[in-house]
């Protein structure tokens, strides 16, 4: 084993350690923040029902959108590429998708709250691929968007019970 071997291996090991430590820290912090922000927005009703009950609306409806892009870390990508050899569940990417989805939803709800809405109807999720597509050695990156129609219901509980 010459120095050429170590020159190839050392960066990988350093990146893996960076990925595990910083990536893990960033993820834990993100989940914590998400929990706090979600709790603050818990009073908004989120549904993907298409029809807004007519008699309940006291304010004009508005489209609200939440966008987010989240990168995978080196460790996640590495672990997933190993897992893809034998197939099965890619757990490291699942948490990535969850973070993106929750973050985009929270951003959408924050926009709705700013408009004074207390319900969001017809919520949909979409993904995009700025970078993740068409790349052989693909680095995972999630671009998620959530959108829906923000409304202010006069009596939220009644409207949900009797659509």
């Amino acid at each position: 084993m010459g120095w050429e071997f170590w020159i190839q291996v050392i960066p990988v090991v350093v990146f893996l350690i960076l990925g595990v430590s910083i990536g893990g820290f960033v993820e834990r912090r993100h989940f914590k923040q998400l929990a706090i922000r979600e709790a603050a927005l818990a009073d908004i009703i989120v549904t993907n029902l298409k029809t807004i009950p007519k008699q309940c609306v006291s304010q004009s409806c508005r489209l609200v959108v939440g966008d987010v892009t989240i990168a995978s870390d080196y460790f996640k990508t590495f672990a997933a590429s190993l897992r893809m050899l034998i197939g099965g569940e890619l757990r490291t990417y699942e948490s990535l998708m969850e973070r993106a989805r929750r973050e985009s939803l929270v951003r959408m709800l924050e926009q709705a709250k700013q408009l004074g809405a207390n319900a969001v109807y017809n919520v949909r999720f979409g993904t995009s691929s700025i970078r993740s597509a068409q790349r052989r050695n693909r680095a995972a990156m999630v671009e998620m968007c959530a959108y829906g129609t923000a409304v202010r219901l006069i009596d939220p509980m009644l409207c949900i019970k009797q659509p």
Partner: protein, 106 residues
């Protein structure tokens, strides 16, 4: 202009359907942003540059859609949907479409 992604607009009734309106845009960030995104792939976390890119692109697609609706003389767009496609690496195509209608308060 009222924009919603539901099929009906509560409190209004649709008087006239003007037809499908659409807006699309393909945007990219400068190379520096792409390089930063590559670095972010080591440690994970949000890529602010690309989030910005998405927000800008969405706004522009919506604006173009609304301009079309205005040209048709509509005062609302209902059932708005977004789709995206991967044209090339580092760029995002955003496409917004909906139905332009004339609504009247009930």
């Amino acid at each position: 202009m009222i924009v919603v992604n539901t099929e009906m607009l509560p409190g209004y009734h649709i008087k006239e359907v003007k037809g499908l309106v659409q807006g699309n845009t393909i945007r990219a960030k400068h190379v520096g942003r792409d390089m930063m995104a590559g670095l972010k792939n080591l440690v994970g976390g949000e890529i602010k540059g690309y989030t910005e890119l998405l927000v800008e692109a969405r706004r522009q697609a919506l604006e173009r859609m609304l301009a079309q609706a205005e040209q048709l003389g509509a005062n609302a767009v209902v059932n708005v949907r977004f789709t995206t496609s991967a044209v090339t690496q580092g760029a995002a195509e955003l496409y917004a479409y909906g139905t332009a209608v004339i609504v009247e308060e009930e």
